[in-house]
Point group: C2
Chain length 136, copies 2
Amino acid sequence: MDNDIESKCIKQGVRLTDQRKLVAKVMSESKDHPDVDELHRRVSKLDAKISIATVYRTVKLFDEAGIIAKHDFKGNKARYEQATQEHHDHLIDINTGEITEFVNEDIEKLQKKVAEKLGYKLVDHRLELYGSKIKK
Amino acid sequence: MDNDIESKCIKQGVRLTDQRKLVAKVMSESKDHPDVDELHRRVSKLDAKISIATVYRTVKLFDEAGIIAKHDFKGNKARYEQATQEHHDHLIDINTGEITEFVNEDIEKLQKKVAEKLGYKLVDHRLELYGSKIKK
DNA sequence: ATAATTGCAAATGCTTTGCTTGTGA
DNA sequence: TCACAAGCAAAGCATTTGCAATTAT
């Protein structure tokens, strides 16, 4: 949990610069799904001179290395989260933007089945639920 | 099926210009999911002077009126299709870009259930399967 | 008549990139 | 050392918009 991202970089031979270390640290400590601007804002508190271009390059690099995950939710700019072992999907609060993660094995299995019935091998998928909080 | 879009415009009081009629016609006749460039290309065959800005404005208008549907599949620009009565989801061929539509009631129900379990009323969702064709 | 729509080009917002200088292994 | 990374500003790409001219009702 702590700075898992930095260790993954080392494991994968990703060169660790000061800037990348900072992005790794901030992403490791983030429990939400920040976009690049927000990430840049957070990293800037640790290094006021880091450029947004570097943040863009770094998230792209980490994403391609499978270290973080990129999400393009409806109508928003790309948001990022630390990659986890188990796959999960997202529910987005349409009023607040708040994101809740969930796992549902039944849906996963059905997706695979649907793809196979159509003659396809399921390689990837995207499932997003958009909802509004029920007041109780 | 024919030019359903034009009748929907009339029904909704959407002013019908020559350009909008052409976009309506082309979208009505399209069985695939063209992006704006492709749409502009097709409409240009009927009116060589129509501008891409008008096509952008028109698909936005039709989308907001619920007459056509916009999709932002992974890594592509927005694609459009005529709106249908029954909801459906999409399977995208990762090799060819070909799109297959499908409906699965079980998945729909499970999505609703998941949202409710998390304290949300399901308002919208996005389900996309990405796969590669199985050769038989 | 007149409010809405078009075409054009310029502006936008997010993201990427070329280039020169700086730096990690 | 030296291939790679950072910072900056400029470029790219899809999409939107301001404005003057045109058009549907």
